[in-house]
């Protein structure tokens, strides 16, 4: 019995060792990863990110790969769960990954980036906008999208300028992203207008019915409801406001930029809703070639597809410039250069944020999201 157990232990140990050795990258491959919510209610965002990164990797491989090696793309699913994000970050390190494009949710990016920082892996997020992502000053962290304090400011400027005298209410969904954004908007609005918002509160994200909190808002007769949160909840909020007879315009951030928002709310209900997002990709001349090849390969271009594409390009350029598979050297190379992207030239400040605030205001017009001029 004892003898059998010893043999079993040896077999098990050898299997583990064999497994480990197969984990490291082969000599002729450079492993990079894209991580986002590939399943669950945000699965579309995850797929957009993966497709964008894949397009970039395919283009690099077609031009001969990097450092003389082929690039292999791993796709990780954090299921919008911070715990899962952390264990994936560790897994990517054991698999020899030096560059991660991700994550989507700030609540996943922030804890996972502790590991990327510790392991000197380059992480570039195409979508996490919470200021805390880069405010900790980690050397290997970058983001190609904007920050919530930037988009909160743009939203506040818009309201102060175009809706003077409006009664403003604020709701958030209690997530890192949603509450952070709502707070940034409120702080900027109160500073710029020298007025207080008339209501500040929260909804429960898992809930479907927000009519109770909206009913409390109704006697205040608000003109604007600023919402920090994502499109499924924003859609329900607009729908239930109209059913209760509330006329207030909903304004939200980049998390609401999705056609599903209008479908859930109903096109008539959503008409006139505002949100802050990056500029219209269809109107950027430099982006059209990439958009065309993306469409041919994967179908419709999502809001974060091109950001993911450029995040991967910038990361790979960093490695190429450093000339070695070394996260710290690659990060230093990214910090010291400027990149030609479909959005125009991008360079990073010391924290890893893009230098210029990219946000513009969009409005729902005849059931479609349209970028509107302001400033």
């Amino acid at each position: 019995m004892d003898y059998l157990r010893r043999i079993a232990a040896i077999v098990a140990a050898s299997l583990v060792i064999a497994g480990m050795s197969s984990c490291g990258p082969g000599r002729h491959v450079v492993r990079v990863a894209v991580i986002g919510p590939m399943t669950g209610e945000q699965a579309k965002q995850g797929k957009d990110m993966a497709d964008g990164a894949r397009l970039a990797v395919e283009e690099w491989n077609a031009k001969g790969g990097i450092l003389g090696k082929r690039i292999e793309l791993l796709v990780g699913d954090d299921a919008q769960d911070p715990k899962q994000a952390n264990s994936l970050a560790n897994k990517m390190w054991t698999m020899g990954v030096v560059l991660v494009v991700g994550h989507y949710n700030s609540s996943c990016t922030i804890p996972a980036s502790e590991i990327y920082n510790l392991r000197h892996m380059v992480m570039i997020t195409p979508a996490s906008t919470n200021p805390k992502v880069t405010d900790r000053g980690y050397k290997t962290l970058f983001r190609v999208c904007g920050r919530d304090d930037q988009q909160g400011l743009v939203a506040a400027q818009y309201v102060v300028r175009f809706m003077p005298g409006a009664k403003v209410t604020v709701l958030h969904d209690k997530t890192t992203y949603g509450q952070g954004l709502a707070d940034e908007f409120m702080a900027n609005y109160e500073k710029l207008s020298a007025k207080k918002v008339v209501y500040y509160g929260a909804i429960v994200k898992e809930d479907q019915d927000y009519s109770a909190v909206l009913t409390s808002l109704k006697p205040l007769d608000p003109d604007l409801l600023y919402f920090g949160g994502l499109y499924p909840q924003a859609g329900l909020l607009v729908r239930q406001m109209r059913q209760l007879g509330l006329k207030a315009i909903l304004m939200a951030g980049d998390g609401t930029y999705d056609p599903e928002f209008i479908r859930i709310a109903g096109a008539n209900n959503a008409e006139g809703s505002l949100l802050t997002f990056m500029p219209d990709q269809e109107k950027i001349p430099g982006a059209q070639a990439v958009i065309a090849s993306y469409r041919k390969r994967f179908g419709e271009v999502g809001p974060y597809s091109l950001y993911s594409y450029e995040a991967m390009n910038i990361g790979l350029s960093g490695i190429a410039k450093a000339g070695a598979l070394d996260g710290l050297k690659a990060a230093a190379a990214i910090h010291s250069s400027s990149f030609e992207t479909v959005f125009g030239p991008i360079s990073f400040d010391a924290k890893g944020d893009v230098l210029d605030s990219p946000y513009v205001v969009w409005r729902v017009e005849s059931g479609r999201l349209v970028q509107i001029p302001y400033k």
């Binding site: 909804i203 109770a212 909190v213 006697p219 059913q243 709310a265 209900n269």
Partner: protein, 303 residues
């Protein structure tokens, strides 16, 4: 009307609409419990599948070019039949073979069915929200600032009709008497010539159809469903059934409406995050203080 008065009545209206849906689901729990003393934990998933069935049928009918009113009615009828059959199949496959086994076995089987249905919908329909295919009017009836939207009115009307119909069916018809007989004593009922298996299957069919109607109306109300909505709705309806007195049909209706209104007031006056706290607080309080529920009568030892 003053702001505070308006707010109170509006919260009650909102609560009644949701409560009517809870009541319809709770009826399925309570009827099944009344007849075979099983807490059918797959019932929340039946409700969710009713919503999916309705949306899929409605989208198909709209694509065929049917007028909206007709398409809505046929979709409701279609999902009612389809989901009823799901309920009957669940009983036949997962519960009937375990009849006479220990009480725990069908309970665990019910949990298994619940997970099975959730994953079945996830795999066949995907994880994304399923969106109601037509945009319905957001208008409604207003009086003194209190607004009852058309959809809320439709929910209340349909739920009331179904509850009255069910009460008459169980209380006045021959089949209803067979159901009551089976609930009281299945052995004696079968000796008197009642086809017990058929009656139980019918009970599952009716309970599941009511849940399907609830699912369809909630899809209409919120405009979307996903494969996870059955879990919380099922739990809430279970609370409603216990609150009214499990096994008691008028109790389930009252329990659902009371729960909906209490939840709505809690969310409005304490805060949205306290809604579930209050709902499940009620469950605990009822179980401790009055386990037979609002309208129930004390029965000998049951699970």
């Amino acid at each position: 009307m003053t702001g505070a008065g308006f707010e109170f009545f509006q919260q009650i209206i909102n609560g009644l609409a949701v409560g009517a849906v809870y009541a319809l689901i709770a009826l399925g729990y309570t009827m099944v419990y009344g007849i075979i003393e099983l807490i059918n934990f797959a019932h929340g998933e039946i409700y969710m599948m009713g919503a999916y069935g309705g949306i899929i049928i409605l989208a198909a009918l709209m694509a065929l070019g049917l007028p909206l009113g007709l398409a809505l009615s046929f979709a409701l009828l279609g999902t009612l039949l389809l989901t009823g059959l799901y309920g009957v199949a669940t009983e036949r496959l997962a519960y009937r073979p375990l009849r006479g086994a220990s009480r725990l076995a069908p309970l665990i089987s019910a949990l298994g069915m619940s997970i099975f249905f959730q994953q079945y919908v996830l795999l066949s329909q995907g994880a994304r929200d399923k969106i109601f295919p037509v945009e319905l009017s957001s208008g409604g009836f207003s009086a003194g600032g209190v607004k009852v939207s058309y959809i809320q009115a439709a929910i209340l009307l349909v739920a009331t009709l179904l509850m009255v119909g069910l009460t008459l069916f169980v209380g006045k018809t021959r089949v209803g008497r067979a159901m009551r007989a089976t609930a009281q004593d299945p052995v004696m009922a079968s000796l008197s010539g009642v086809p017990v298996n058929g009656v139980i299957a019918l009970t599952f069919f009716i309970g599941s159809s009511l849940a399907a109607v609830a699912g369809f109306m909630i899809a209409m109300y919120y405009g979307k469903v996903n494969y996870l909505v059955g879990y919380m709705a099922g739990l809430k309806a279970f609370v409603a059934a216990v609150l009214g007195g499990i096994g008691n049909i008028p109790g389930a209706m009252a329990g659902g409406l009371v729960l909906g209104v209490v939840e709505s007031l809690a969310a409005g006056y304490i805060g949205g995050e306290y809604k579930d706290v209050v709902a499940f607080g009620i469950l605990i309080a009822v179980l401790i203080v009055r386990p037979e529920g609002l309208l129930g009568t004390r029965l000998p030892e049951k699970v």
